[in-house]
């Protein structure tokens, strides 16, 4: 790591009487999961590098309630939502960016009905905006010419129709973007959504993540790019199950961009 990360909290901003440009919603995976923490850090490096005035909630952040809602526990979901909304509204948050499509979907679509209306962006959309505004530069670096495929997260793609931003970023790496048989609207799930991440799958003849990884491996990518910490885990496990971890990396788009610049 070249320098320490600058990760101010909303409380610190508040103490100085200032408002950040955007709140970075880290999410549970991004905060606690070892693999996802690397994505969080890569994204923070990009934010630091682009001099984005951002803050996190830190210990004041709590699960959005997405897995509880999808498991059918509407009570727990709404308790979580209302608690989070109180915190967000107390800080007068207007704009939120997150690297988790589940947090993205929940805050963007399900919080407004409970009193929390914000402009919510997925980190790939946010990075694309920084790029367009000239605040972020993307170089191909070691990814130049690499075969990269993008796995559409259900909660980013089908759920919210965001397909282009992540692809634009990959193309900026001067990489060769290759598409799987099922992509965009027809993207196949990694198997983690709807609270499946937290339980074993029902009886069947295959794991969903293996099926999806096979689709990816069929087009012989060097990197499978992801835009969701859960997809990342599922695809990484899939690649391991197919014993291809020495040939194929699973990386978040934020990691690709940060690594390309040796941040």
């Amino acid at each position: 790591m070249s320098e320490t990360l600058k990760v101010p909290t909303m409380a610190e901003y508040m103490a100085q009487g200032k408002q950040p440009e955007v709140l970075f919603w880290v999410g549970c995976a991004g905060s606690f999961d070892d693999r996802a923490k690397k994505i969080t850090k890569a994204f923070v490096k990009l934010l630091n590098n682009a001099n984005v005035d951002f803050a996190v909630l830190g210990t004041e952040e709590s699960c959005t309630g997405d897995p509880a809602k999808r498991a059918g526990n509407e009570f727990l979901f709404q308790m979580q939502a209302v608690t989070n909304i109180e915190v967000l509204n107390a800080y007068e948050v207007k704009k939120i960016v997150t690297a988790c499509p589940h947090c993205f979907n929940t805050i963007k679509n399900e919080y407004p009905g409970l009193g929390g209306t914000y402009e919510v962006m997925h980190h790939t959309q946010f990075l694309k905006t920084l790029l367009d505004e000239g605040r972020l530069t993307i170089q191909g670096g070691k990814f130049k010419g690499k075969r990269i495929t993008f796995h559409d997260p259900c909660y980013l793609g089908r759920a919210n129709n965001v397909y282009q931003a992540p692809r634009d970023l990959i193309q900026k790496l001067e990489a060769e973007l290759v598409e799987m048989k099922n992509c965009r609207k027809n993207g196949l799930c990694c198997g983690a959504g709807g609270a499946q991440m937290f339980k074993d799958a029902e009886k069947g003849d295959k794991e969903v993540n293996v099926e999806r990884t096979e689709q990816a491996l069929n087009i012989k990518p060097e990197i499978i790019a992801a835009g969701c910490p859960f997809c990342n885990t599922m695809m990484t496990d899939g690649v391991k199950a197919k014993e291809k971890e020495s040939d194929v990396d699973v990386m978040d788009i934020a990691e690709l961009i940060a690594n390309a610049q040796d941040l």
Partner: protein, 437 residues
Amino acid sequence: MQYLPNILFAIILIVAIGYFAKNVKSLIRNIKLGKDTDVSDNKPQRWKNMIMIALGQSKMVRRPVSGILHVIVYVGFIIINMEVLEIILDGLFGTHRVGLRVLPISVYGFLIGTFEILACLVFVSVIIFWIRRNIIKLARFWKSEMTSWPKNDGNFILYFEMVLMSLFLIMNAADLQFQALDSGNIISKHIALWFSGFSDSALHTIERGAWWLHIIGILTFLNYLYFSKHLHILLAFPNTFYGNLKPKGQMTNVEAVTKEVMMMMDPNADPFAAPEEGAEEDVPEKFGASDVQDLNWVQLLNAYTCTECGRCTSECPANQTGKKLSPRKIMMDTRDRLEEVGKNIDANKGEFKEDGKQLLNDYISTEELWACTSCNACVEACPVSIDPLSIILEMRRYLVMEQSAAPTELNNMMTNIENNGAPWPYNQMDRLNWKNE
């Protein structure tokens, strides 16, 4: 005696339409068993969806082969049915090809010629459909929920169409007057060659026979709809109109829960205060759905609209990997149970009598419900805007909020969220530790 055919025709017509009307009434009654839901927003977008998706078949053509064949059958079916108007007028007034009395021969010929070409195209398309179902055995038509009735239903519809198209062409071919016009008999003139040695009276018998069978066939088909997946030819229109307009990832917030949560979070609320007048009624008897009456009416309309095409199931990640879940089965089960409930009400003078059954467990198992990843692939795939996921979610809500019957691992996850604000057993106070790791 001269008016006997006219009278007979009128009786058949009245009986057929009457029976159809009765079934439509049951259909509406059954759909209204569902809970209310507000779909009055954004009318312009709703009209647009109906025109694009139902009328324009925009989602059908995503699978080009079946999509284009379906468009042919659909356009053919609608346009050829214009001919039914003439048949009904002829039948009632004892005229023959009344269209010729009002239209110039060339226009009439153009219309019938178009119908003949379409009939021929429909016939060929339907044969290809039959081959796909029965010879090629496309996987989606042979999944486990495609038991004997759904399979037969699919084929019956194809046979119906084949017979109706043939009768229409034979009727034209055996019609000496029409053939003599030599306008619009573009296909039937070739069929007429087969009849070349026939006497005039034999031809007349064939023509009359085909004419009667054709119209009786159409009226039978009309009444078959209610019992068949073919009902979609009518319901696709309201169904796409009332389809979800929100982002697919957005799941509804249960209002009754919101009220309770707000109460609990409100420091000024007095938990012992007497409920306000009428407030009691707002609290629903139960959360989520264990039976069809717990679903909303759009979900029930969805069930009647389902074409059993299986596009949803073939895109479902759970189904693709051998799990029991099939979104098509969710829709078929909902319709079957709704029909059962409807018959129960009919048999018990308008009141539902407890029958010891429900949608949950008797039709849809928890194993199916818990296999869903909420990926929305089924919703995206459906050509008529059906949302199987919303039913799965409602049933999960019932399992969790009414029965505390979630799988153990999910209960652990939820306990963690409750206690630590994360689905894993980490302390909320450690949430920013990554920064220094």
